[in-house]
Symmetry: C2
Subunit: 231 residues, 2 copies
């Protein structure tokens, strides 16, 4: 009766826990090697190899050979979007993973979620922005206010009007892994993280594959001045 793209085959790829672990690990945007992904998923390299071949055949990931390493990355931002969407549904259904959040305190405090700031500081930032009425939130939808635009231009030199993107909202609520509350995603979230990096307030940890974001002492102070918890 019905035809069209075969959704179920793709969904089944994501449906296996081991493969799903690999995919979520790749949501940082970084490319990871086959062994790293095997470890991430908690399986042996042989099994991982089989899974990676399937994910590649399904068009979810793309390989890049480099010496004797094979780096894999998500083949398209759309894939990350779908994974995010699934996260939202799973969260609403209360299907939380059994394993608890990241144990690493640094990872809980500040980390990269795809391309924007997550963790304690990410959640705190969105909270503060709502308190300052820079954004309005209703459920998953977030809207930048006029005051928010002014704030972005003056304090962070970000032109909010230039952030519109055909397939991606400017603002979006993204559920935080460790905090289980929302932080700011979307092109604005990404632009802000970029600015923090440019201003040398923060930098990604040098450890390959790490999602940790380290704030400098000065950066933390400036960040707190704008998005402090007390304010």
């Amino acid at each position: 009766m019905k035809a069209g793209p075969d959704i179920s085959r793709i969904a089944a790829l994501v449906g296996d826990p081991a493969r799903c672990n690999m995919l979520t690990a790749l949501m940082t945007g970084r490319a990871l090697t086959a062994s790293e992904l095997a470890q991430e998923a908690g399986i042996t390299p042989q099994t991982a190899s089989s899974h990676l071949a399937k994910l590649e055949a399904g068009g979810l990931i793309e390989p890049e050979k480099q010496g004797r390493h094979r780096y894999y990355r998500l083949s398209d931002p759309d894939v990350a979007d779908v994974l995010e969407g699934l996260q939202g549904i799973a969260a609403r259904a209360g299907h939380m993973r059994v394993r608890t959040g990241p144990k690493d305190p640094a990872l809980r405090r500040a980390r990269i979620c795809y391309d924007h700031l997550a963790g304690d500081l990410g959640v705190q930032m969105l909270d503060s922005m709502k308190r300052q009425k820079l954004v309005r939130q209703s459920k998953q939808a977030i809207e930048l206010t006029g005051e928010g635009k002014r704030f972005m231009a003056e304090e962070l030199q970000i032109d909010a009007d230039a952030l519109t993107h055909p397939r991606r909202p400017v603002c979006k609520a993204c559920l935080d892994w460790s905090e289980r509350r929302h932080h700011l995603a979307g092109t604005l979230g990404a632009a802000m993280m970029d600015r923090f990096t440019e201003l040398k307030w923060a930098a990604r940890d040098i450890t390959p594959g790490s999602r940790v974001v380290n704030f400098s002492r000065n950066g933390e102070k400036r960040f707190a001045a704008l998005f402090g918890a007390g304010e």
Copy 2:
């Protein structure tokens, strides 16, 4: 290492072909009974019952008892969004279903896809809109031009500026099941379909569960005048 919502469990639900058939059948927005869904998926009622229980437990669908029938609908528009996203990925990967498109000619000609017009006429409409420069398309992204806004206001009494929605784009390309080309989705696509219905140009088929859209003789003429193939 990582925590958060358990994506894989949800994805595994969609990953089974039978369940996936049910879900796509529900993407029309209509509620369908357990038997209808069983037939839609091509399985026996017992098996369907088991699947439906799992989908309900996963929060993807919601039941509604009515006499001795149990109607099921998608629990949230977000679910439809994720399914659409998966369609997009599957289509790009070239993973088309083996079974060919709808055999029913009426279904090929005009039908409801979620809430907007699909089928031959849906594809034709988007084509014509591009020719008339009412929209600009680049890949999946579609943008309404100034002329397009004027056209919508004058010809169809649709205020395009009032169609902005936090979680849904105004225009979006949606891959057509039967034609395997794009038709117009998004809030504008939905608004246009609504208008066609209001103007009595077209109406959904009365058969329960049917996605067929019937155009009246007059409606077809008026539609062709605006979005004719020749023009």
